[in-house]
């Protein structure tokens, strides 16, 4: 088994207010991860927002397979990003981007 398997998560963000960038989204997920699981817990998270459409709120992120649960939990608990109220909805997880698009 590969030591660092990746996992991709397709998600939709429902928002009530102005849109925000993928960087702001990533930074909010990181700070929530840090707050919930601590520095050691998220050390090898390898979280990246690969694609995010600000208009539709649909995107996908990449993280370490072993930390997938942490990432989804932390993202689900986000209430606001830059003052915009949001609801994070994970839609699908996959080991490859190709399978995510199916």
């Amino acid at each position: 088994m590969k030591p660092n398997r990746k996992r991709y998560v397709l998600f939709t963000i429902h928002q009530d207010g102005p849109s925000f960038s993928d960087k702001q989204l990533a930074s909010t997920i990181w700070s929530n991860l840090l707050s919930l699981y601590g520095e050691v817990g998220i050390a090898d998270c390898k979280l990246y927002i690969n694609e995010y459409d600000e208009k539709t709120g649909i995107g996908y992120l990449q993280c370490n397979a072993s930390k997938l649960e942490f990432v989804i939990t932390a993202a689900s608990l986000i209430k606001t990003i830059n003052g915009t109220k949001i609801s994070f909805q994970p839609t699908k997880t996959s080991g490859t981007i190709k399978a995510l698009g199916r």
Partner: protein, 231 residues
Amino acid sequence: MPAIDFNVRVTDRDSLDSFADMASTLGFSGIVVPTKGEPPRGFEINNVTIYTRLDIKSTKLGVLKRELGKSRKKYSIIAVPLSEIDIANWAAKEARVDVLTFQPTKTHHNLRGSTARLAAKAGTSFEVSIAPLLNVTGLTRSKLIKEYRESITTACNAGMKVILSSGASTPIQMRSPWALNHIGTLFGLNTQYTEDSISNHTHTLLRENVQKLGDNHIAAGIELVSRGGDE
């Protein structure tokens, strides 16, 4: 099986449509709301079945009993928030009460082992709303998670069924069933358990209650199949 959000804090009939839309988008087949005067057997908006619930918040046992007697047939679900020991214990073993709810406030009450055992015997479930968790961060959230975890562990050890709900007061506060499953892991519940509880268990509970509210229901296991003169 599609899930049901057991606690959506809709304040008026006008906002019900937006909650139903959001529930449909997130993948819920039903929501339970505390609105008055709606049919207790459920009705549909945008392919989402709306059930009603009553939260009886009383500090006196007499008031609770009276309110329960008056309201049981008017709501799909009857919930009693955890409070003083005599009220919690009475509600736990009362068959007409469906769920005990844990709502963290300044004067909150954790679930006691004795209450949980009584509730498990009577088939009363333990409901936990995640809304308070969304409003806090840092140390306050950490303390809150600890309180949730303690009460949920007590409930699970006694054999009570735990139901996670959003407790959302606005549509945007609602979380999808999958997100709820993952939030449950913070309280020591595995995703499979939470998935089962918010889909299968809630459906069973509501189906049984709706059956009881029917005209043909006489007692548990006894139902009127046909009346004299029916063909």
